[in-house]
């Protein structure tokens, strides 16, 4: 899988169109099938986190502990509501993201020293420490039962749940587009390209006078923020947070989504997330005992036959059309 990919992957506007297409799908389909609205909202939450993971993958860094930041974002939301009674949706999302970002900055400062497997394993270790704390500090976090997240107000309005779900769904879609475009710009900026360069040749980058650690820390902090935002959305969407959000298999799921969708372009993470959530929903109906096997096999197939993921497939179809 080409982590760097063609680094001017598609013109800017192409990404815009792809994202808008996704957005339309995420808003239109639920009109036909109402419960899809919730599935998509959650999918966007995962997609944001997966985008964070995908960014790091472009730098050749695999984190099998990124669920940590999803959990921080989610629990931050729960605590903000519980302890200081913050109750405004957008305020919650912003604060939870900021808190997660701060956590990412601190932990990242330590992570940036490590590469390859050690990076992966340390992320794993820290997420598992956090998972254990969430489950153990019963009187603070409700242990493995998790914490309730009430329905927040939107711009001061108290909505009933159905209305709120709809607002949340649309806000999530809007956030998806906005954030994805920002990240797209970042990845094409010197800082973003330097990240891809690290994967290809870190020594050379240092010989350009660039601090690889700095570049990685920046990327790590951003990816943490993304995961945090995803976690916050998940928390308000589901209305409940549990330690499993930070368990290592969920981190694995995020990497899986990132690769499934393809890391050569920002829409990939979201394509992957939608695809994954749909597969999971149907698998839960038709093959409840085998859905892990199904997604696992899907992952292997993608890795072997679509090294650029579903997004890469999309690109390829495009280029083929172009050739004809």
């Amino acid at each position: 899988m080409a982590y760097s990919g063609p680094s001017v992957c598609g013109a800017f506007d192409m990404v815009v169109w792809q994202l808008l297409a996704l957005a339309v799908a995420a808003m239109a389909l639920p009109v036909a099938v109402p419960w899809l609205g919730f599935v998509f909202t959650v999918a966007i939450g995962k997609g944001l986190a997966a985008l964070g993971v995908a960014m790091l993958l472009r730098g050749g860094l695999i984190s099998i502990g990124h669920a940590l930041y999803v959990a921080i974002g989610a629990y931050a939301t729960a605590f903000l509501m519980l302890s200081i009674g913050m109750n405004e949706l957008f305020l919650l999302l912003i604060c939870a993201t900021a808190i997660t970002m701060a956590a990412g900055l601190v932990i990242g400062a330590f992570m940036a020293r490590y590469r390859a497997i050690f990076f992966a394993m340390l992320n794993l270790a820290i997420s598992m420490v956090f998972f254990t704390l969430l489950s153990k500090l019963y009187h603070l976090t409700g242990g493995s039962d998790g914490m309730r997240v009430a329905t927040p107000t939107v711009l001061g309005l108290t909505l009933d749940r159905a209305e709120f779900d709809l607002v949340l769904q649309f806000s999530a879609v809007a956030l998806m587009v906005a954030v994805a475009l920002l990240i797209d710009r970042y990845l094409k900026s010197p800082l973003g390209e330097a990240l891809t360069a690290i994967h290809a040749n870190e020594v050379r980058l240092e010989y350009l006078g660039v601090s690889a650690r700095g570049v990685i820390l920046a990327a790590y902090t951003i990816s943490a923020a993304l995961a945090g935002l995803g976690g916050a959305i998940t928390a308000v969407a589901i209305g409940h947070v549990v330690p499993e959000l930070s368990y290592w298999t969920f981190s694995g799921q995020l990497v899986l989504i990132a690769v499934l969708g393809g890391i050569t372009g920002v829409p990939g993470a979201f394509i992957g997330a939608f695809f994954f959530e749909l597969v999971r929903t149907f698998a839960a109906d038709f093959a409840p005992d085998a859905w892990n096997a199904i997604v696992g096999a899907a992952l292997l197939i993608v890795i072997f036959f679509l090294p650029q993921g579903l997004y890469g497939l999309l690109q390829r179809v495009k280029t083929r059309k172009a050739r004809l």
């Binding site: 080409a2 760097s4 010197p190 891809t196 020594v203 050379r204 240092e206 006078g209 700095g214 920046a218």
Partner: protein, 247 residues
Amino acid sequence: MNPLLSVRDLHISFGGVKAADGVDLDIYPHELIAVIGPNGSGKTTFLNLCTGYIRATRGSVIFEGRSITNEVPRTITRRGIARAFQIPQLFTGHSLIENVMLSVAAQHGIWQAFRPLSREAYRNKAREVLDLMSLGDIAHGPTVNLPEGLRKLADIAIALALKPRLLLLDEPTSGVSTAEKFALMDTIVGVLRAEKVTALFVEHDMDVVERYADRVLVWDAGKVIAGGPPQEILRSSHVLERVIGIG
């Protein structure tokens, strides 16, 4: 005139092997210096020490009057010393011009997260360097499967794009066919002269050394055992037998 780079009593050894055993040398502005010596005599190690890839156990490296002893490559690069490698070090994920643009961006603020790398200003700067190195026509191609000669040039182009005051080249002609060799060196040296870059290059080919170097330094067992203009160095029987192995 005081030296651009002056090295004093530099030491390091790997498991008993003395790769640098009290190296002393001065490089003056606008010189083009060739370093010769048998394999394992510590030539590449010397470049690694100067650029901070490995740390010296003893000794000092002074650049433009300020010590850069045991600084990290990043800092030393920022001070104005660029390096090209024996094994070309390229960003294989990027096209050639992007490689160079990264190098350009590295000088004016890599810390821009929202303006694109491939902006006009950077593109032009990169373009210039590539044209100088006569790599213009493959600028937008990938760097992965270029022939060795072009990879070498690309590697050097990235270094030059940093606008260094001192350039260290590690065997620029290794792995390049004899036919290409001189063409390659003509290009490189042409650029160095044009850009007024002081340079030191490690070289095995005595023809290349004789033809391009202003001064030759002879390495052996981690020491500089002789130094002077090519004509006289390459005639000294002592050097010939130690380095080129002719009795």
